[in-house]
Symmetry: C2
């Protein structure tokens, strides 16, 4: 084994994103206006989101050119390495090859800037001065602050109050990139003030923060709203990581048999698998796709597929998606990025058509997998990514039982440097497993 880490030169950085929409026999259901419940026109959506995002959201072009200015900025950290987990393979005694795509290499430490960057570019092109957004644990807020600092516009980040107080270092990171961050609910919006009037001591929720960010965007002439997951354009942007993975596997002379990503809103899983859908759908290649979610928030394994809001404030368009209900409040597990009631419609389509399998994992099991990984491959993962690791280890063990030389590829969506308190809790035996039975079927 000569190369454990498979690099691409920047001259091989993919110049297009992959759009899976033309592959689907039936189109996805349109988003509905939250007030009229009628299908939303692009113009309506463009009142909320940057125009470039909505153009892509509805595009039927299979390969979408990456704008040159975006490519130049991607080169700050992309292509990221694909790493063969040889030490983990040895530890497990598996005949499988295990690869991981190391998205922890970006400045904010996750895959999130893959979409924050083009979204910011569209906003800049359109002459906007501000992008508003919400953030829970801070991954998305820091990604958007990083990219807005690159294009010289403002990020206005509403951070769930309890996270703002408990996780001060993501806040510091956002401020280091000149992001404007306020704890939500805040006094800065009407909806924020109403939440506070109702309950002055509220911890806040992601739903409240989304409502505030959307209000500010729709009321301001030079601001729009940016979402970090769920929507088609987000997953399409993320396909850059899957395209790189494809090239890197080719460089290593391999093809994937299993592709794994954790699933919160679906963007890192989507990014990894989209460029392989043509092999599966058009060429009938047998690639197993696994979405790894948390038992505390089992959107794919226990949710219903139906129209629902993306926020608890009922301000976002209605999407037809797997959902636990927009008023679902998940327990406080450490994988904050997986605590979301909904799921990307593209991922929903893959699940309902049987192209993928979803698995839900318990908190203690994913930290056990994370430490197995840290003590073999060295890197300490984010709890979200540890779900993908757990699924990969399970698959590698199965390959051992069946004596099959498979290629298992997972997305290491982010590093755990800002999650060490969670590791403390696990090592101290303080973590509890949390299950949720899901809504009535």
């Amino acid at each position: 084994m000569k190369n454990k880490m498979i690099h691409l030169d920047q001259t091989d950085l993919p110049t297009s994103w992959f759009n899976p929409l033309p592959l689907f026999e039936e189109p996805l259901d349109p988003p509905l206006n939250p007030k009229t419940e009628e299908p939303m026109k692009p113009e309506e959506l463009k009142e909320i989101f940057p125009e470039g995002s909505i153009d892509l959201e509805m595009s039927q072009k299979r390969e979408v050119d990456v704008p040159e200015e975006v490519s130049e900025k991607y080169k700050i950290w992309r292509p990221t390495p694909l790493i063969r987990a040889t030490n983990l393979e040895r530890e497990l005694g598996t005949p499988a090859r295990i690869y991981f795509k190391y998205e922890g290499a970006s400045p904010p430490g996750s895959h999130k800037p893959n979409t924050a960057l083009p979204q910011t570019y569209y906003a800049k092109q359109e002459g906007l001065k501000t992008l508003t957004t919400e953030t829970g644990a801070g991954q998305w807020g820091s990604a958007l602050s990083f990219t807005t600092s690159q294009f010289g516009i403002n990020a206005k980040v509403f951070m769930v109050r309890v996270s703002y107080d408990q996780k001060p270092f993501r806040k510091s990171m956002i401020q280091s990139w000149n992001g404007d961050i306020v704890p939500s609910p805040s006094e800065e919006t009407e909806v924020g003030r109403s939440f506070l009037k109702e309950n002055p001591d509220t911890d806040g929720t992601l739903g409240m923060a989304i409502s505030e960010a959307i209000e500010l965007a729709t009321k301001s002439e030079d601001a729009k709203y940016s979402l970090g997951s769920v929507l088609n354009h987000v997953l399409i942007h993320q396909s850059i990581l899957g395209k790189e993975t494809r090239l890197q596997l080719e460089k290593d002379g391999q093809k994937p048999d299993v592709l794994i990503g954790c699933t919160g809103g679906g963007s890192n899983f989507g990014g990894l698998v989209l460029p392989f859908l043509k092999d599966i759908i058009e060429e009938g290649r047998d690639i197993k796709l696994i979405g790894a979610e948390a038992t505390a928030c089992p959107t794919l394994t226990k949710g219903n597929q139906e129209y629902d809001y993306a926020d608890s404030g009922e301000m976002t368009p209605l999407m037809n998606m797997y959902t636990l209900g927009h008023d679902f409040v998940p327990d406080g597990i450490h994988a904050g990025g997986l605590r979301y009631h909904g799921m990307a419609p593209i991922v929903g389509r893959l699940n309902s058509k049987g192209y993928m399998t979803a698995r839900a994992f318990e908190q203690t099991d994913i930290f056990e997998a994370a430490l197995t990984f840290a003590n073999t491959e060295g890197y300490i993962p984010a709890p979200e990514s540890a779900h993908a690791i757990k699924a990969a280890i399970d698959e590698a063990k199965k390959a051992k039982e069946e004596n099959e030389e498979k290629n298992i590829v997972f997305n290491y969506s982010g590093h755990g440097n800002f999650d060490m308190a969670a590791y403390d809790d696990y090592l101290a035996g303080k973590l509890e497993d949390v299950y949720h039975e899901g809504p009535e079927q």
Copy 2:
């Protein structure tokens, strides 16, 4: 510009370290026994340090083979990227090319495992079960825990008590890699108990922690002590990063005119510059070497060059080095890795012979430089590395004034993910500049 990030394939990972000792006309002064003040024999040093470390410490071989097992483990994260800071160049309007070697890519986030790995390998080869060490802010302790977890031996880390309490996340990281960490002074050693008896509420110092680690190592049959900077073998191990840099610059068709590293104990600066010393000393090439230190701990700019202890407990060998005095207690600046009274003898030789220049920087200036960097190149650096960034920016501005197309290369020794509280303080205007006048000359 096609490649902003210059990768090496792992097949190009250097297979030898560079040892500068044969280049020096007069040999370095030997370490002295702290009790007898007589030159120490290798056998004496091997009672404290792993044998392989001491064999290298005194080697006169110019190119030293990297053991294959070490190379295999280096491949977990090496070669690290060399990145051209094009966005920073544009911001400064400089004709200079600025490159940085991104050592933040390692699992613990700094250059430290470059030497922790071979030291652990030697210990394992020798049949040791434990390496003891001290750590201040936690960078070195986490590096050694990472590498001992790779070779299946134990790390026993004495962490300065005030850091142990204030920086819990490095502790969590060490424990995630199975490291055994205790706040120092502790009840576990005689010297620790004596420190506690004297002052039960002491915050601890690095000097006390070193004394405890050495006591434990010398009293135990299957344990030895490991040091993360200062000594020759440490700098020689670090030369791997300079060798990679050399290859990467060649790949980009360039040669360095200025090489910059921050200087705490001297290992990251040494690692960068050692492989270029042959060009300077043997071929007379004009390469400017700049060591960037803190005004609060101005070892090279204001220290004396004389025999001194490496610890405050007077248990280590005496080294002839630049020092502020082993009882010097630096102010609590945020760049914890630069708060050390001494300096690697190899770096001292470069300084006293005029091969390098040392510059001391104020705390507020280095954070200003760090944020300029974060908002152009994206990455948020450790405060230590920010000293190198400040020096690089100064050089780039000078190149602009003089309209010179220079190649400026600095070592980005570590990321700032565990230093966000320092950024908070800076952004809140809470940082004060600290100067130290140095000892009497």
